[in-house]
């Protein structure tokens, strides 16, 4: 990380983000751009600093620990199939060991209790899922039950510590694990790619999860990801990102090619809150008034919502 703060270069588009769980206090946001740059913002996306990475220096995806404010732990996957980690908020990076050569990881998903269980999952472009049980120091393939290895999306449930439920979407189907990624079982096959996944913040009780597809709209599960039904009220447009957040009520957000959609009743009715932009990434952290949600658009713009995600402000 350098000391020089600057705006995100205009020609760069944020492809994926990671957010500090206490972003409302520390303002920390990380972003990976279409040019493979990892950037750091200390003030909720207003200013950015490039983060220096080892090897090629390029990033593919980034994730921070759910207890990032205490342990400073984060991971970055690089295009050459390398995953590096840092426990000082990105100042010094360390290599990890991957037991079998794998392609780049497009999604990194730490367990909500990674500090104690050490579990982190990574969805790779062509080699299925990698699993680490030691906070991302070593990785090994965890593809038992996956019928194809080209993964597109990955999510772990908020009650992962007790239930160990995770979902991974491949090019051809959706798979569910109930043992922390040790094995997978096909739960959805719609002849359409699932591009985004989200669990309800109150998953332990309401058992809800959502899957956004490329052409077939939105699907919902009300039984912990075992069975899926189409959400008829949602238009059949490409859903690039999903986020479920909790304020005084629960919200579901969908970043699509047609804009940012929000539902205050967990997917029954929808309103378009940021129209006519292709939303590529969504991240959220906090609860109630401390809730922050960021949406990155293909045009290079970054939007933020503070508190209830029905009003959005363009940054920069």
């Amino acid at each position: 990380m350098t000391d020089q703060e600057q705006n995100m270069p205009e020609q760069q588009i944020i492809m994926t983000m990671a957010i500090s769980p206490t972003v409302a206090e520390d303002g920390i946001l990380f972003a990976v751009t279409n040019e493979g740059t990892l950037s750091y913002s200390p003030n909720e996306g207003r200013d950015w600093q490039p983060v220096k990475l080892p090897g090629s220096g390029l990033a593919m995806s980034v994730a921070v620990s759910p207890s990032f404010d205490q342990d400073g732990l984060m991971w970055v996957s690089q295009p050459e199939g390398v995953i590096v980690w840092s426990n000082d908020r990105g100042k010094i990076w360390r290599d990890t060991y991957i037991t079998r050569q794998a392609s780049a990881a497009s999604v990194l998903a730490p367990s909500p209790t990674v500090a104690t269980d050490g579990l982190v999952l990574a969805a790779t472009l062509e080699d299925g899922v990698l699993r680490s049980g030691d906070r991302g120091r070593t990785w090994s393939p965890a593809n038992f039950g996956l019928l194809d290895l080209k993964t597109l999306a990955l999510a772990v449930c908020p009650s992962f510590a007790s239930e160990q439920i995770a979902l991974v979407a491949t090019e051809t189907a959706l798979f569910r694990s109930r043992n922390g990624g040790l094995s997978w079982k096909e739960v959805g096959f719609w002849e359409d790619a699932v591009q985004s996944l989200a669990f309800s913040p109150d998953f332990a009780h309401d058992r809800r999860a959502w899957a956004g597809t490329e052409n077939s709209g939105l699907f919902m599960s009300a039984d912990g990801g075992l069975t899926w039904q189409s959400v008829e009220s949602f238009p059949h447009i490409s859903i690039n990102a999903l986020a479920a957040v909790s304020t005084s009520q629960q919200w579901l957000l969908a970043g699509t090619t047609g804009g940012l959609y929000a539902s205050a009743d967990m997917g029954t009715t929808w309103a378009i809150t940021v129209p006519d932009v292709n939303i590529l990434a969504l991240v959220t952290a906090g609860r109630g008034e401390s809730l922050r949600t960021f949406a990155a658009a293909e045009t290079g713009e970054l939007y933020v919502s503070r508190g209830k995600p029905d009003h959005w402000e363009k940054i920069g």
Partner: protein, 566 residues
């Protein structure tokens, strides 16, 4: 003296016990007894006596409060005895009893029990007690002057009715909670039950689960990923790792051919096409790859990474496995043995995989580029074939399950360990039995356990209206159907007679739980049995009893050849 066999080992004659301990040869060694012929009723009575020998050894193992049977080790007087609670295995260990005519009865039930074991993997003790009770009833009726063939017709009609009644009791095993409940009831081990719940939830009812002795105390499990076939490279020169022990191909094209490939002209076009692709490699799976074709691959291996392996297995099984590989990698099997030309193949006709590992013993494929619809269709077909073969051809069934496991992602291994080797073996057998019980239940459903399903089946027999000479057969079967509950109650320390009487007065789903000593809702208590096991035990017991009952002449040969199989 009863002779025992340890794990399919035949007993050398004269070495079963020290000579000094052997009783008079004429009395006990059936090979030295005079050949002869016996007629009914002496023949049937001798068969009954043999059945009684065997069943009395097995009877204590029935039910949740079963006792073990200790079998002396075959080698060494200082070895611990083998502690068994599995009827079929106990029967299998007993390969001879003293009297030649009695021995026939014992060997008859031994084969019946092993047949049940082979088909459904459990239910041996139940089979034994039903068969014994039915044989006793049949002999009693025959002695009272009833026609044996009429009794037989009555029993056969009763069997149909009883099976229909069992089917009517069936409930499916679908959810993970169902599996956990069933496995807990079968094993009494919550940790094992939870692990099996997870494994079967992942693999489905046809999952390939292997039980092995482990080193870590308790029961652990792991999933082995990938599809591997037991067939190695045609030449070790394909090795490309530092130790020259393995060939690793990344993003290979996959050519599967049913015939031999021997001429360089056959593979030169496709090898050139692969060479034009960036970082590509080629795996050839064929009946054989030899001659100038092999030379061409090896002489170009520095430019084009490749490996050639022989098709796994042979005959129809080879064809089936080649088809599996073709589906898994998104290609088709080239019928070059039927005249199809390998030389005319285009690159887009080959399969693809993410990686392939080949060594001298096996090859493994990870990340085959299967057509999703075709792969799922193929998996569905295999599952259907497994349903078709289930309970009929265990060898074919095993092959189908192995093939399916490769397609759905691999096998799950349960490691079992105990404090001592003897405990490890006993626990492993219990785990194997539980795994089998769950598999059977997932395929065929469950019925109330502890002998209660047979009580309901016995009640259903009363609805049959048959001529009197056949109706006595129905009554005999009804009494035999009560025997499992009677024995389970007895083994748990209760009086079987009153328990059976009370069981008939219970509502649907209720019965005697030998673990608690109470009558209760057996569904809720998790006291259930897999229907295929319950049905197989009944069917085989009836078959065995009728065979003994309708045998009027037995012939003893001098020095019959010793067989320990099963």
């Amino acid at each position: 003296m009863i002779q025992t066999a340890n794990r399919r080992t035949s007993i050398p004659r004269g070495k079963a016990t020290p000579k000094s301990e052997q009783p008079a040869p004429q009395d006990t060694d059936i090979n030295k007894q005079s050949p002869g012929v016996r007629f009914a009723p002496a023949s049937v009575n001798a068969l009954k006596e043999g059945v009684d020998w065997m069943v009395n050894a097995i009877r204590p193992t029935l039910g949740p409060k079963a006792r073990n049977v200790a079998i002396a080790p075959f080698y060494g007087n200082n070895k611990p005895p083998e502690l068994l609670d599995d009827a079929a295995t106990i029967a299998r260990r007993i390969v001879e009893i003293p009297d030649a005519y009695t021995n026939m009865g014992a060997m008859l039930i031994r084969h019946v029990l092993w047949n049940v074991h082979e088909k459904v993997g459990d239910g041996g003790a139940t089979t034994a007690v039903i068969m014994q009770a039915l044989l006793h009833e049949g002999i009693r009726l025959s002695a009272a002057g009833w026609n044996v063939m009429a009794i037989r017709r009555g029993i056969e009609k009763g069997l149909e009715q009883a099976r229909a009644a069992l089917q009517a009791l069936k409930r499916p095993v679908e959810t993970e909670a169902d599996v956990v409940g069933l496995a807990l009831a079968a094993s009494g081990d919550l940790d094992l039950a939870r692990k099996l719940g997870e494994i079967f939830d992942t693999l489905g009812p046809d999952g390939h689960v292997v039980v092995q002795e482990g080193y870590v105390p308790g029961i652990t499990h792991e999933y082995i990923e990938g599809a591997f076939w037991n067939s190695g490279w045609v030449s070790s020169a394909f090795a490309n790792n530092d130790l020259k022990t393995e060939a690793l191909l990344i993003n290979p094209y996959v050519l599967t051919a049913r015939g031999r490939i021997e001429n360089w002209e056959d593979i030169a076009p496709i090898l050139n096409a692969v060479a034009e692709q960036q970082d590509a490699s080629l795996l050839i799976i064929a009946l054989d790859v030899a001659g100038t074709a092999l030379n061409l691959l090896l002489s170009n291996k520095d430019k084009i990474r490749s490996a050639a392996v022989k098709a796994p297995s042979y005959g129809e099984y080879m064809d089936a496995q080649l088809e599996d590989i073709a589906v898994l990698t998104g290609t088709r099997v080239i019928l070059n043995n039927m005249g199809e030309s390998v030389a005319k193949l285009r690159l887009d006709e080959l399969g693809r995989a993410r990686s392939v590992t080949v060594n001298r013993d096996y090859f493994g494929i990870v990340g085959g580029h299967a057509d999703p619809k075709r792969l799922r269709g193929h998996i569905a077909t295999l599952r259907e074939q497994i349903r078709h073969y289930d309970g009929r051809d265990s060898e074919e069934l095993g092959r189908l399950r192995e093939r399916l496991a490769k397609l759905i992602g691999g096998v799950a291994i349960l490691y079992v360990s105990g404090a001592t080797p003897a405990e490890t073996i006993a626990r492993k057998e219990r785990v194997e039995r539980t795994v089998n019980t769950v598999k059977q239940a997932q395929v065929g459903g469950i019925v109330p356990g502890g002998g209660t399903a047979y009580i309901r089946a016995a009640e259903a027999l009363q609805k049959l209206d048959l001529p009197r000479e056949q109706a006595v057969g129905i009554d005999a079967l009804a009494r035999a159907l009560e025997e499992p509950l009677r024995v389970i109650a007895h083994n748990s320390g209760a009086d079987g007679g009153p328990i059976v009487t009370l069981a008939h007065q219970q509502p649907d789903g209720w019965g005697y739980n030998a673990m608690t000593g109470e009558f209760e809702d057996l569904w809720a208590a998790g006291v259930v049995d897999p229907l295929p096991v319950v049905e197989a035990a009944l069917t085989n017991a009836v078959s065995g009893a009728l065979m003994a009952l309708t045998t009027t002449v037995t012939v003893h040969r001098k020095k019959p050849p010793m067989e320990t199989n099963p």
